[in-house]
């Protein structure tokens, strides 16, 4: 169960995509997401699909690994699909009791489900090819112009780094506590919803206690090393744009323009 979560999991590699500047990658993803919402027909999806498959190919990530990221969100995708199928008005195809499936509903449902799938695969591609550290570096740099209007860019980035940094730790810990309680006969897999929720207590209590303990220790460790915000801090790896970054963002710019234009043609 726990090992299915690929969101926020870096898949190491040394490809063109991996080496792109994180700022560029974030901008590309923002453009990608925006373009998805400009699409109003099935036809441009072909290009989106092509774009995703091409990116997966050149970033050397097994397709299976990307698809696995869809699994935890399968429920949301199916709910979206079902709601759209049944609650869109139009030409009735067939009826099941009070519910009716319409032609428009079917096409709308497929359309929405595909949008979600593209959204998830596209964004998980960002986290799969970018290490959390460079990702937050990128975010911090992108947000830094807003410092002037009082946005604590560095602190936000720091909080994100810490949160991301602790995802694997907490997952590992959850796994360990789960096993420890299972060794004492706890059952996390059967029973009805209420019982299952109750059975989570032996897992959640120790998990929270440990998380708070860790947070405390981290805070003390940071203070012991005189940590304070972003002013005048230098960094180990300065972000620099190179030709490939410019190339990637230009291609994306053209692609974005093209997708947006399909709406108005």
């Amino acid at each position: 169960m726990l090992k299915d979560i690929t969101i926020g999991q870096y898949f190491p590699g040394d490809t063109f995509v991996h080496k792109l500047d994180p700022r560029i990658k974030i901008l590309i993803i923002i453009m990608f997401i925006t373009s998805l919402f400009f699409i109003d027909s099935f036809f441009p999806y072909i290009f989106i699909l092509g774009f995703i498959l091409f990116s997966i190919k050149i970033s050397d990530i097994p397709l299976k690994f990307v698809l696995k990221g869809l699994k935890p969100l399968a429920l949301i995708i199916s709910i979206t699909f079902i709601i759209n199928v049944f609650f869109t008005k139009g030409e009735v195809l067939f009826k099941i009791g009070p519910l009716s499936i319409t032609k428009e509903g079917l096409s709308q449902a497929t359309f929405m489900a595909l949008r979600l799938i593209f959204l998830i695969t596209g964004t998980s591609l960002l986290t799969l090819t970018t290490s959390p550290i460079s990702l937050t570096d990128g975010i911090e740099k992108l947000l830094s112009p807003f410092k002037k209007i009082g946005l604590p860019a560095h602190e936000l980035a720091m909080m994100m780094t810490i949160a991301l940094r602790f995802i694997p730790t907490l997952l590992e810990e959850t796994d360990k506590i789960m096993k420890a309680q299972m060794a004492r006969g706890a059952d996390f897999e059967s029973g009805n919803v209420i019982n299952r929720a109750k059975n989570l207590v032996p897992l959640l209590v120790p998990l929270f206690i440990n998380a708070f303990r860790r947070a405390d220790e981290l805070a003390i460790a940071m203070e012991a090393r005189c940590y304070r915000g972003g002013e005048n801090r230098t960094r180990l790896n300065e972000l620099k744009l190179n030709k490939q970054d410019i190339l990637a963002i230009s291609i994306m710019g053209i692609f974005f323009g093209f997708i947006v234009s399909t709406r108005y043609i």
């Binding site: 420890a180 060794a183 120790p206």
Partner: protein, 287 residues
């Protein structure tokens, strides 16, 4: 034979760049009533191996037979297996969650579906076994205790399930010397008085030398050495090659012998060394 493994293999994250062979063709036989030490370098697969023994991890291939039941077969009753093989994890105090010590220790017994009276009896007994005062502590919160006491509560929680085999994964890690001696003393007593089969995972060669009858040495997911405690610690060079060592006192006696003193070099504990040295000095005095 209470635990037997046949060609046990386990691979972490198969088919990803993080793929790692954690266990490589492990064949083990643990006799009932034995006290086995499991040693090995960090990452040698000890913890992975012990988690197989009560079905917490399913092997990639191979068989595990606990008390005559193949626990890897479909439909094996894992709850029963986990009752038979009690596993105490590293830092087990991190799993405590109940409001009172009594409730926490009773958790495992309760999951077995026992009656109130039986649970009460078992909790009391388990607390006695680990040296916690039942009346004084049962209604207190486990989080008020010291590290060593918390750990003993966690061990009691496993003991309350009355396991036939007790597996302890580094039970003394991070404890002060007194806490360590207390835990080890209780483990020794459990073995001697309750006749439980014990598997002890440890990095401390001293603890292993003092307690166990037999040693299994793991290296890179394989069983590198196996034998009686004395036989294993006689092979100091091989152990050092595997990133391990021998007890300090054994090392001392070996060095002393190399200096030309006719003493035994298979000494395991300080007490043994003391006797041997007194005998040696007497022999020398008489000669």
């Amino acid at each position: 034979m209470i635990i037997k493994t046949e060609n046990l293999n386990y691979i972490y994250n198969p088919n990803t760049p993080f793929e790692k062979k954690a266990l490589d063709n492990i064949n083990l036989n643990i006799e009932e009533g034995d006290f086995v030490g499991l040693i090995g370098h960090t990452g040698s697969g000890k913890s992975t191996l012990v988690q197989h023994l009560n079905g917490l991890i399913k092997p990639t291939s191979g068989k595990i037979i606990v008390d005559g039941i193949d626990i890897t077969s479909k439909g094996a009753n894992l709850k029963e297996v986990r009752q038979k093989v009690g596993l105490v994890f590293q830092y087990p105090e991190h799993q405590l969650f109940e409001e009172t010590i009594y409730k926490d220790i009773a958790f495992g017994a309760k999951n077995l579906g026992l009656g109130e009276e039986e649970i009460h009896r078992r909790v009391k007994k388990a607390m006695e076994l680990v040296g916690l005062n039942f009346e004084a502590l049962k209604d207190r919160s486990p989080f008020e205790l010291s590290g060593g006491q918390k750990r003993r509560v966690a061990i009691a929680g496993v003991l309350a399930m009355k396991p036939k085999v007790l597996v302890l994964d580094e039970p003394t890690a991070g404890l002060d010397p007194r806490g360590r001696d207390e835990i080890l003393g209780k483990i020794q007593k459990l073995y001697e008085e309750e006749g439980i089969t014990i598997i002890l995972v440890s990095h401390s060669m001293e603890d292993i030398a003092k307690l166990v009858n037999r040693i299994i040495v793991m290296h890179k997911g394989k069983v590198a050495m196996e034998g009686k405690t004395r036989e294993i610690f006689e092979q100091a060079e091989k152990l050092e090659e595997l990133g391990l060592g021998i007890p300090q006192i054994t090392s001392f006696m070996r060095a002393y012998k190399r200096k030309g003193n006719q003493v035994r070099d298979d000494i395991l504990t300080v007490e043994e060394a003391k006797e041997e040295l007194i005998n040696y000095l007497r022999r020398k005095g008489n000669a």
